[in-house]
């Protein structure tokens, strides 16, 4: 399951300012509990989170779910952070409205939320509530543009994450694609992130 094709590229647009050494990285098509079958007429996965370490830019095996090794966990449209009911870390998150590049500093009065499953999550669940919108006509999911997930990692450092696409290969199927195609290609995250390793709230 977790043998994900994970690779990264350096962002060419990074400005050459002396104090900032952080660069943004892109993760492509990270599977997040992809569809394995049908239950009660609904496509389902195995129900396991796909864990990812922002600090090390790598996937973490699910046996380490109860550790501080991972920073975010992905399962379908649910994104968890390593704190609260989700993990033993000092994680947390909130959703910032604005562009990825604009977010240069996390403002001091920002409140990081933690997961309190199943009633609430740091990154709210549901269409048009957190990071995505689901079109009920085409049954396709799009990340809402201008939403940045501000993440506190398991070790209490900061990162910003922008989800770019939810489908395999980073391309959303056509509106008139078959249900089978829409189903088999979904739950693959393409996202970019910037991690600030020095513990400051600036990127």
């Amino acid at each position: 399951m977790l043998m994900a094709v994970v690779f990264f590229v350096s962002c060419k647009k990074e400005k050459v300012t002396v104090v900032e050494t952080v660069t943004s990285k892109t993760v492509s098509s990270l599977p997040a509990d992809t569809i394995v079958g049908v239950s009660n007429g609904q496509p389902v996965g195995t129900g396991k989170f796909s864990f990812f370490s922002i600090e090390s830019n790598s996937s973490i095996a699910s046996v380490d779910s109860n550790s501080k090794k991972w920073d975010i966990g992905l399962r379908g449209t649910t994104i968890i952070t390593n704190a609260g009911t989700s993990g033993p870390g000092s994680g947390g998150a909130f959703v910032y409205t604005g562009t990825f590049d604009e977010l240069k500093t996390i403002s001091a009065d920002s409140t990081f939320r933690t997961d309190n499953a199943p009633t609430s999550y740091a990154i709210p669940l549901g269409s048009n509530k957190g990071w995505y919108v689901l079109d009920f006509v085409t049954n396709l999911l799009s990340p809402i543009p201008g939403r940045v997930l501000v993440i506190r990692t398991a070790n209490g450092k900061y990162a910003k994450v922008e989800i770019l696409n939810y489908y395999k290969g980073g391309t959303t199927p056509a509106a008139n694609a078959t249900d089978a195609e829409k189903s088999s290609k979904q739950r693959y995250y393409t996202f970019r992130f910037t991690y600030q390793s020095n513990g400051s709230k600036s990127f």
Binding site: V38, G41, Q42, P43, T97, T99, F100, N128, Y132, V133, D135, F136, V137, T138, L140, S142, P143, I144, P145, G146, R147, E162, L164, N165, G170, T172, A175, N176, T178, D179, A180, S183, T190
Partner: protein, 692 residues
């Protein structure tokens, strides 16, 4: 202004007819008489609001069968394809256009859309089109405009048969018989229309358009009672039947259901006209119409069956009195009472009747203020039983600089009453995430019931705002000019702007424990449509008529515009996949609206029975659905492609009794399976008419 004798609106006096013929305008339309604009017959050239008339001859020469066919060929009108063929006028959707038959409203809408293909336009006299709000005369729905179908009541003796055969085994047959027996005029009309439908996708389980048939029977009677009274009656019955085969994918399985959809509609319209003296006349009109639609689907191998029933009855009584106060001053006053009811299993048990009643009155004063300037002012008040009452004023000016140039300016209020669906709908979709939609009148009770049964997770802030819906309101400004150029070209230019407030949209009021959302209706949205429409026409050698039309349309959701200006709306680039702030110039406005549309028509008619037409239609790209997650039309891939379609026809009169004609619509076979399922591609047909 020389409006001719003030007359009862269905009796067009010979003096008016004579006057019409004397004026030899290049724009044939301008000679026509229009009733709908002022509720009294007027020369089209003297009407101060945007209006047009489509004659029976134009309809015949265009080979049009149904109301949507001919309306789709008019400037500034787009036919949409959702819940049937709907009209879009000045950028307002089908919900906001009133469809009249001889001045009486036709009912029976699905999802707010009046399906124009229900209406045959054989056996009618003309179609009148008013653009911009006319609620001051017609009340609810007359917001974007009014379409009035005038059936033939000329009383001339005729026995006509028409038969047409075309692609997809489409058959259209009509009988039209008119007799004058002493002073009684009787007309009988019958139409039958059928088609085997078509498939745009080969080998699909389900046809794009399933086989259907439709039929219409109509009788009109007109009987003078002495010299001052006249009785007339229209009775009409309309049937439609559509086969249904629906294939749905569910978890990898294809579920095929078979069944039908049918509708049954009747109209009964007796009226009594009384000419008190040369100056005052009055009419009393009764109207009863019913529309019943049934859809039944039997689902193969499980889940039982689907049964949808909707039945609406509309009754109205109305008096209108016309008073020619002086030569240049006239007054119309009227009042009426409407009682309507709906029974539907979309709302309730079928036995529960949902009712509304409206009492209304209106007046309109027309005054020629000077030799060049005419003013019309009017107002209507609708007192409603189940939603807020509305006052709809309107004022219009016409200023004639000369015979060649005139200016028109009008401003009016329009409204659309909340419909039964928005008040009483009680719908739960079990298939798609188990969401529910409740009308505002039932939402609280239904959610309370579910809450008592421990099915509700939480209610939202919007839940507290569920209240009596207000009518949707518009203010419409139209400013235009009519010019006859020296070289014989008639040009009409009209600028329009409609500001719509209190638009009714759905919002989430609660979440179910199962995760499903519950929606209800709110007066939330404000939108605007604005643009310019230009039409030009010229006649050459009295045998060729050339016409061209163009519309520029700009629409917007005002709240969205505010958010864009506030910088809180973003888009995702198609090329880079990255998000950026949306600019106002990138916002594509309301979906399904084309910024540009245009048409050009050429007709040759030797006035001895030979004619040919070529008509070209352009519709610019229009927004379809959001793909980048901001809920708006902004990116190039969120539009359907603009397209050009060409229609042509050729006809010949074989002696006194026979007419033959043939035509091809969509000659270059333009198709767009995804966005234009109602367009079958190229279609050919041939028609034979016999006059006995």
């Amino acid at each position: 202004m020389r409006y001719s004798l003030f007359i009862i609106f269905l009796l067009i006096s010979t003096s008016l007819t004579a006057q019409v013929k004397a004026d030899s305008s290049a724009f044939k339309q301008l000679d026509d008489v229009i009733v709908t604009a002022t509720r009294s017959p007027r020369l089209l050239a003297n009407v101060s609001i945007p209006a047009s008339v489509i004659s029976a001859k134009t309809i015949y020469q265009s080979g049009s069968l149904r109301l949507n066919d001919i309306l789709s060929e008019q400037s500034g009108i787009v036919i949409t394809d959702n819940f049937g063929k709907g009209i879009q006028l000045q950028g307002l959707s089908s919900d906001y256009t009133l469809i009249l038959l001889n001045g009486e409203p036709l009912v029976g809408r699905t999802g707010g859309v009046f399906d124009l293909s229900r209406i045959t336009i054989r056996g009618i006299k003309k179609i009148e089109i008013i653009k911009g709000p006319s609620s001051s005369l017609y009340g609810s729905e007359a917001m974007g405009g009014v379409i009035n179908i005038i059936t033939d009541q000329s009383g001339s003796r005729k026995t006509d048969f028409a038969l047409r055969y075309g692609s997809f085994n489409t058959v259209d047959a009509s009988i039209d018989i008119a007799r004058k027996i002493k002073k009684t005029e009787v007309q009988f009309f019958s139409n039958y229309n059928r088609s085997q439908g078509y498939s745009l996708k080969p080998n699909a389980l389900q046809k794009t358009v399933e086989p259907f048939w439709r039929s219409t029977q109509q009788i009109t009677v007109s009987q003078p009672l002495g010299s001052k009274w006249k009785f007339s009656l229209l009775a009409r019955h309309n049937n439609t039947f559509i086969n249904n085969t629906i294939a749905v994918q569910n978890g990898g399985n294809t579920i095929v259901s078979k069944g039908f959809e049918k509708s049954n509609e009747y109209n009964l319209n007796p009226s009594l006209q009384f000419k008190i003296n040369q100056k005052i006349s009055s009419s009393l009109r009764g109207y009863l119409t019913g529309f019943k639609a049934i859809q039944e689907l039997k689902i193969k191998d499980a889940f039982g069956s689907y049964d949808d029933q909707f039945s609406q009855i509309y009754k109205r009584i109305e008096n209108q009195t016309d008073w020619q106060i002086r030569d240049k001053s006239s007054l119309i006053i009227g009042a009426g009472y409407v009682s309507e009811s709906v029974e539907s299993n979309r709302y309730d048990e079928l036995s529960t009747k949902r009712k509304n009643a409206i009492a209304y009155s209106f007046f309109q004063h027309e005054e020629q203020l000077s030799k060049n300037l005419t003013f019309i002012g009017g107002m209507r008040y609708d007192a409603n039983k189940i939603y807020a009452s509305v006052a709809s004023p309107k004022a219009a000016f016409q200023y004639k600089i000369s015979d060649k140039i005139s200016f028109n300016l009008s401003y009016g209020k329009g409204f659309k009453a909340p419909d039964f669906r928005q008040l009483f709908l009680n719908f739960t979709n079990l298939a798609a995430g188990s969401y529910s939609v409740f009308g505002t009148d039932v939402a609280r009770d239904e959610i309370k019931k579910m809450s008592d049964a421990n099915l509700i997770d939480q209610t939202t802030a919007a839940f507290n705002n569920v209240s009596v819906l207000k009518p949707e309101i518009s203010g419409g400004l139209n400013a235009g000019m009519k010019i006859k150029t020296l070289n014989g070209i008639d040009v009409n230019i009209n600028f329009f702007r409609n500001d719509i407030s209190n638009m009714i949209v759905t919002d989430v009021v609660a979440y179910k424990k199962s995760g499903g959302q519950i929606f209800s209706y709110f007066n939330l949205k404000n939108a605007r449509t604005q643009g310019i429409e230009i039409e030009a026409g010229k006649r050459v050698l009295n045998v060729i008529s050339l016409k061209a039309g163009f519309q520029y349309l700009n629409t917007a959701d005002k709240e969205v515009l505010k958010s864009i200006k506030a910088g809180t709306v973003f888009e995702r680039s198609l090329e880079t996949g990255l998000a950026s702030r949306l600019k106002t110039s990138e916002y594509g406005g309301l979906p399904n609206r084309s910024k540009f549309s245009a048409n050009a028509k050429a007709t040759y008619d030797n006035n001895k029975g030979l004619f040919t037409t070529v008509r070209i239609f352009y519709r610019g790209r229009w927004g379809t659905n959001d793909l980048d997650g901001n809920g708006l039309i902004n990116r190039s891939d969120e539009y359907a492609k603009g397209n050009i379609q060409v229609n042509a026809s050729l006809g010949y009169k074989l002696g006194e009794r026979w007419d033959v004609m043939a035509g091809v619509d969509n000659i270059f076979n333009y198709k767009d399976i995804q966005n234009l399922p109602g367009n079958p591609g190229r279609v050919g047909y041939a028609t034979l008419q016999i006059h006995l």
